[in-house]
Amino acid sequence: MLEQIKQWIERRRGGQTGNIAPEKTPNPKVPGDQLLSECRLIVLDLETTGLNASKDEVIAVGAVAINGGAIDLSDQFDLILRRPELDLTETVLIHGIGPEALTQGHETEDALLFLLEWMNGDPVLAYHSAFDQKFLEKTLKAELGYTRNHTWMDVADLLPAFFPDALTGGKGLDHWADFFGLEVSARHHAASDALATAELTLIALNKAHKSGLKTLKELHDKLRYHRRLQSIHGV
């Protein structure tokens, strides 16, 4: 990963343009007629210092890409951001990232630019995506002044939409992972949680394909419909 970023930075800065501007990063894509069986999807998980988006910060970003219906392990993102000034006591226990590992992190700006470049504007999926979206948007705005809207989809909605009768015993990532017998290698590690989320996404996409859902737009609509149903039933 480190090597990749260095190369990328050298490539970008080697050009005459000097520092790249955030607005030069790939345009966010809108759900349209892209085929689910062909398009690229980002599955992402953040580690943060806490749950409060107004005062807590992002520590690490883990993400994998789904390409043409398969998780492509040569196309992944696993990075600790540089946040040495933060008080870590709150989250250090959950994530296992200590101050020492954090200081080995990367220049935040570079890392976030690389993330945007890597994301390539493709739709982003996350478990309880509202949380990750809030944190990522806040960080991108603060560090890069970047405010463009990406398409986000919540895997926590995706699963019950396709498996309404599953007796998971709860709504968490762990519940669904247990339900499908997934083994999560290092829970609460951003990259590892992202992979588990991506595996659940593959299961949902398999079901989507069988129920005739072909395009990204159809999937997006199905999720919106599911959320509306949920709110009507007043849960």
């Binding site: 990963m1 398969a70 998780i71 696993d78 083994e183 991506a198 299961i203």
Partner: protein, 638 residues
């Protein structure tokens, strides 16, 4: 896991895939760099239950897959039966499709997900890189599962070898051990001169050859000792008077195991090696074969066979277990080891009988029969008695009068065998039972009733009495009896079908989802390797053997004979023999471990105690038992 977590140069998900791979062969033997290459180039795909993963229509295979979660089922259409058959099962950590990707052709088997399944896969490029750079991976891909079987056997041997410190294999051709140009003499040479020649050459034996260099006899220092002690012959007499005539000969291509078995059975300490014209080319002594061992098969068999007291026989039993260790160390497979144990058990039984005849001769010739696993020559260290007596009623006596003389004798023998470690049979299937001490006519009647009236009890007995062998006394009357029994069974389709139905009841311990089905035994999960693992093979093979007039009782030999008779396909039979032998090997190793710990021997194991390779091979072996039962099902329309 902890170790690889410290490796922070690789992304977490790459590391976790490497850890996953490391738990399974052949990846467990591969370098980290090669595993990383796999992980970094892998894609992870999901297949729901029943989804097709790979089919012939997909064309030349260009990906190599490893099951990460779930299971893959191989399906082929059987045109004859017009139905789809499962040809194999691939579970967690296993790879596919080996033959197709190596042979650069489409797969011939439909690969379908059995249950929700995730597979890691790499493209052909990455596969080729790994094949060319990683030797363990190359070895595995080119030799397939058979390289795994080798690994299991290797481990059994290294485990046993650790205590032996030797690397000579029993499958080594005798050539390697043989003394070339052994000392020879003519039959007319006086004993004195023959001994002088042995002395000059510092050898313990001399081969007596005729004019054509055919071995005519053998003379050893032991013979000299007996000759002098018992004063049977003069030193000036020609050696032909005292030599052991017609010495045992084997071709040079025979292996050390064959030689050891011959020596053990006949108590020889020397064998001649001959060429295709029966001309002497070498000589093998027991010492050559076992020079590095503390316990040797031949001398143990001889010590048992010449013991003069019961307590000697009892004390020798611990040597048998040490010998099993040694044999495994020397490369004997499980089939060979059970034969060794059976041979030594036979020698023990014979000696107990001989000692009792000396002490208290019942005065009536009899044949000592043995049934069940001993009858099949498939005994392990855990064994109980299943025996009986066959006699011919002397003129002027009734059968009951004969029994009056034989039964007390048999009672003593049964008790003494129990002291030697052959547990008394709980079902009283023993020679001292009046119902099993019968004349040839009575045995014949007994089998007629047995075959005609297929009661449930008779079906239970079938696994005992239909695997029968004589280990002492004349064998002619048993041969005649067996001929009649086989002919009767071959004519009786109903009996065959009932036997088949009974054999079909013994299901291998796999669930519908191909997991192990456990015996409920308190808290611990366990498998009964004998009743659940071996019995399905033994019972099914017995039905085919009896129905097709195969005379041997040994399961592996029965399978060979059935293949020769065209009843079994050679490929199937080999797979079944391998599977059966592997279950037996795992059972024997667990017996040896129990002995080491001083535990009581049982046939139960907890598969969780096995390493992943053994677990996988055990599961595959059970699946082979299912296939054999399917054949039974089709043949007898069960």
């Amino acid at each position: 896991m902890a170790a690889s977590n410290q490796d922070n140069t690789r992304p977490q998900n790459t590391r976790s895939i490497m850890v996953f791979l490391q738990a399974h062969a052949p990846f467990s033997n591969m370098d980290d760099d090669h595993l990383a290459h796999f992980a970094e180039h892998a894609t992870l795909r999901f297949y729901a239950d029943g989804d097709v993963v790979l089919a012939a229509e997909d064309g030349v295979v260009n990906r190599f897959y490893v099951v990460k979660q779930g299971r893959i089922r191989g399906e082929r259409h059987n045109d004859k039966a017009d139905k789809t058959e499962t040809t194999f099962e691939i579970s967690i950590g296993e790879c596919f499709p080996l033959a197709a990707i190596v042979g650069e052709r489409p797969t011939r088997t439909l690969h379908r997900a059995a249950g929700d399944t995730f597979c890691l896969s790499i493209e052909q490029d990455a596969f080729i890189t790994l094949i060319s750079e990683s030797e363990p991976f190359r070895d595995f891909c080119l030799r397939g599962v058979s390289s795994l079987l080798d690994q299991v056997n290797q481990r059994i041997q290294t485990g046993a070898m650790a205590s032996m410190g030797s690397s000579i294999s029993l499958s080594t051709p005798l050539d390697r051990y043989a003394l070339r140009n052994p000392i020879v003499c003519t039959p007319d040479l006086p004993v004195r001169k023959a001994v002088a020649r042995m002395h000059e050459n510092n050898v313990g034996s001399i081969v007596i050859t005729d004019d054509n260099r055919h071995p005519a006899g053998i003379f050893t220092l032991r013979d000299l000792r007996t000759m002098i002690a018992e004063d049977t012959c003069s030193l000036d007499a020609p050696v032909r008077q005292i030599m052991t005539k017609d010495p045992c000969c084997l071709p040079a291509t025979a292996d050390a195991f064959a030689a050891a078995m011959l020596m053990a059975e006949h108590h020889f300490s020397h064998l001649c090696l001959v060429d295709e014209n029966n001309c002497l080319i070498g000589m093998v002594s027991e010492r050559d074969l076992f020079s590095l061992q503390r316990v040797d098969l031949v001398s143990l068999a001889r010590t048992i066979g010449t013991a003069t007291h019961l307590r000697t026989l009892v004390s020798l039993r611990t040597d048998v277990s040490r010998l099993v260790d040694a044999m495994l160390a020397h490369g004997a497979d499980s089939g060979q080891v059970v034969k060794i144990i059976t041979t030594l058990n036979d020698v023990t039984v014979r000696r107990v009988l001989e000692l009792n005849i000396k002490k208290n001769d019942p005065g009536i010739p009899f044949t000592w029969l043995t049934f069940g696993s001993e009858g099949r020559q498939e005994q392990t260290l855990l064994t109980d008695q299943d025996n009986g007596i066959l006699f011919q009623t002397p003129d002027g006596m009734t059968e009951d009068q004969v029994r009056e003389k034989l039964l007390p004798f048999a009672r003593v023998v049964n008790d003494e065998l129990a002291e030697c470690g052959f547990t008394l049979c709980k079902g009283n299937i023993m020679a001292s039972n009046p119902k099993l001490c019968l004349s040839d006519r009575e045995w014949d009647d007994w089998f007629v009733r047995f075959i005609d009236a297929s009661t449930p009890q008779n079906l239970v007995y079938s696994s005992i009495f239909l695997d029968m062998r004589a280990i002492y006394g004349p064998t002619d009357s048993l041969d005649e009896l067996l001929d009649k029994v086989l002919t009767r069974i071959q004519k009786n389709a109903l009996f065959q079908k009932m036997l088949a139905g009974n054999a079909f009841q013994r299901k291998p311990p796999l669930t519908m989802f191909r997991n192990f089905r456990y015996v409920t035994d308190g808290k611990k999960r366990s498998l009964d390797l004998k009743r659940q693992g071996l019995a399905p093979f033994v019972e099914s093979v017995r039905v085919f053997a009896l129905a097709n007039g195969v005379k041997s009782a040994n399961t592996l030999e029965r399978m060979d004979d059935l293949t020769k008779a065209g009843v079994f396909d050679a490929k199937d039979a080999n797979a079944w023999k391998d599977a059966y032998s592997l279950i037996q090997a795992i059972r024997m190793r667990s017996h040896q471990e129990m002995l080491e710990r001083g535990d009581e021997l049982t046939n139960y194991i907890d598969p969780d105690d096995l390493n992943p390779l053994d677990r996988r091979i055990l599961r595959e072996s059970f699946r082979q038992a299912q296939r054999l039962q399917q054949k039974l099902e089709v043949t007898y329309q069960l």
